[in-house]
């Protein structure tokens, strides 16, 4: 028997494969197509205090081995989530992680406070890639102090695991990782989408209604692996690796690079059962390689040279 389970700051995940925020709705949309009980956890669509309509079309466009999205955090709002979605999520046999988005620090706190009494919510993931209305809309997640401040404020309000989801669109993501670790985060998720853009040459218009959007999918896998490597060497708390994971081999690469668990995003759109297939695939890999605990893959990169992420000539 291979040990697949994993303790994330007090909660036990049955395996190291979760579905990423915004790529699996509230967990109840794919019941015909997948078995959520075979996942390590479900991370909800980002929840805001008020329901959000989201951005006008066009919201998505395919790019080489990737996609851009500009959904605009369309979501039903935290109250409706509690009323309409939590009853189902109480019945699932997998960890439920509520992802929170907001445009002020107070709002982050309010959303968390509303969720805090709900036992069905096992942990929080905080999406800091949100426009900060107080700073003219610059993303919280590109400001290290604000990111730490959000962490500190939320930390005082909950004992449940607090996972900070970092944006890759910064110079040194490890600074952010260290800052949120210092501020009390239990884990970090790396990475959110990479800023990108698509142009329609014929109409000379941006394809997305918001001009730029977030790049995801296999195209960003190399970027995500580098960020996971960088962050996992900078902090002691676990790193959840995300970005372009399509199959078990991809997931294993993230574990080796330093991720304690992985999240599957865009791949769910192609097959919402990807997560469970990956969980099975990791187990098979361990069997073949005579590994008794998936934990021993984590951070097992055999890097004889020690050139660091930022110090090499390319």
């Amino acid at each position: 028997m291979i040990k697949t389970s994993f303790h994330l700051a007090g909660i036990e995940l049955k395996n190291r494969v979760l579905v990423a925020s915004g790529t699996y709705g509230y967990g109840d949309d794919c019941l015909d197509l997948a078995n959520v009980n075979r996942l390590g956890g479900i991370i909800t669509k980002s929840l805001s205090l008020k329901p959000r309509d989201g951005n006008p079309p066009t919201r998505i466009v395919e790019t080489p081995s990737g996609m851009l999205n500009s959904i605009g955090l369309a979501n039903i709002g935290v109250r409706k989530f509690i009323a309409d979605k939590l009853p189902f999520l109480k019945t699932v046999k997998t960890a439920v992680i509520a992802n929170i988005a907001a445009s002020t620090i107070d709002e982050y706190c309010e959303v968390l406070d509303l969720l805090e009494p709900e036992d069905a919510v096992d942990a929080y993931e905080i999406n800091v890639s949100c426009p900060n209305v107080k700073e003219g809309g610059l993303s919280f997640g590109t400001n290290c102090e604000l990111t730490a401040e959000i962490t500190r404020r939320l930390r005082t309000r909950t004992r449940k695991p607090l996972i900070l989801k970092l944006t890759p669109n910064v110079t040194h993501i490890s600074e952010f990782a260290r800052a949120v670790e210092g501020a009390g985060a239990d884990a970090i998720s790396v990475i959110n989408t990479v800023i990108g853009m698509a142009v329609d040459a014929k109409t000379r218009r941006p394809v997305l209604s918001t001009i730029t959007g977030g790049l995801s999918g296999p195209a960003i896998k190399p970027i995500a692996l580098a960020k996971v490597y960088e962050t996992s060497r900078a902090v002691k708390i676990p790193v959840l690796g995300i970005g372009g994971i399509m199959n078990a081999t991809d997931a294993i690469e993230f574990l080796i690079a330093g991720a304690s668990a992985v999240q599957v995003g865009t791949a769910n759109f192609i097959d919402p059962a990807t997560g469970q297939h990956i969980a099975d695939g990791i187990q098979q890999f361990c069997e073949q390689q005579h590994i008794s605990d998936v934990a021993s893959l984590v951070g097992s990169l055999d890097a004889s040279s020690d050139v660091s992420v930022i110090h090499s000539w390319l």
């Binding site: 709705g25 996609m67 959904i71 769910n268 919402p272």
Partner: protein, 255 residues
């Protein structure tokens, strides 16, 4: 709704750059309703990355047909499939046309270009249900027309190479001016500009009208929020094309 690898039965060209692909799925064939679609992973590759949606064109026994234009990588790849190949399909998906309501007697089907796709299956089920059916079909030239499996057909081509010279909505208006149909209702599928024109006619003449929309989709089954359709009124601003559509009553949405 199922997710399965289905066997390709045959692929053949039916008009210029237009192909019909048939695959085998008794579940889809038995459960699909007119206006619903299937979502196909055309390749195992990451280019294209996402599934591609296609209306169901016809069914027979366990045979399910789609019809498509070769536009980009996904459809090019489909056109090169061979009998016996397996393709990864999710379906049937979406809300079908509301065919079985009592508020109309004559279905006026209208297809522009590949908007013909859902019309044969619609025709078959309508005739079976005892409705009258009249069909309007438009395309660029005669070479792009696929006229089979339709009934009471009126044809328009942009270049006049067959039928009426002009667009299919103009043709339909001419016919409406001439004839009187018993309690008509439109079912329209085609490019957005045509849907808009047809909807305007319907509203002006107080005729019920459902359209089948097209546009980019990420997943096809409601989890990516990538396919918003703006509502004319209601508490929410958007619904989803893949889950709440692709068919809509034109009085509900902004086209």
């Amino acid at each position: 709704m199922i997710h399965a690898f289905c066997t390709v039965l045959d692929v053949h060209s039916v008009a210029q750059n237009i192909f019909v692909l048939a695959f085998s799925s008794d579940t889809i064939s038995a459960t699909v309703l007119p206006g619903q679609f299937v979502s196909i992973r055309t390749d195992e590759s990451t280019t294209p990355l996402l599934r591609r949606p296609f209306s169901v064109y016809r069914t027979k026994g366990e045979r399910v047909e789609i019809i498509f234009n070769v536009i980009g990588k996904g459809t090019a790849s489909l056109s090169r499939k061979h009998a016996g190949d397996l393709i990864d399909i999710i379906g049937p998906l979406g809300v079908p046309f509301n065919l079985f309501s009592e508020d109309y007697d004559t279905a006026l089907l209208m297809g522009g270009g590949l908007g013909v796709a859902p019309l044969p299956i619609t025709t078959e089920r309508l005739l079976h249900a005892g409705k009258s059916v009249v069909t309007f079909l438009g395309s660029r030239t005669a070479a792009h027309l696929v006229e089979t499996h339709l009934t009471n057909l009126h044809v328009a081509t942009d270049d006049g190479s067959k039928g009426f010279r002009g667009n299919v909505v103009e043709l339909m208006q001419n016919v409406l001016d001439d004839k009187r149909f018993q309690k008509p209702k439109f079912f329209v599928c085609g490019p957005t500009a045509m849907l808009r024109a047809a909807a305007n006619v319907a509203i002006a003449r107080s005729i019920a009208c459902e359209v089948s929309l097209e546009g980019p989709m990420g997943c096809g089954f409601g989890i990516c929020q990538g396919c918003p359709v703006e509502l004319l009124h209601g508490e929410r601003k958007f619904v989803l094309m893949c889950k709440d559509g692709p068919t809509f009553d034109v009085r509900r949405i902004v086209i």
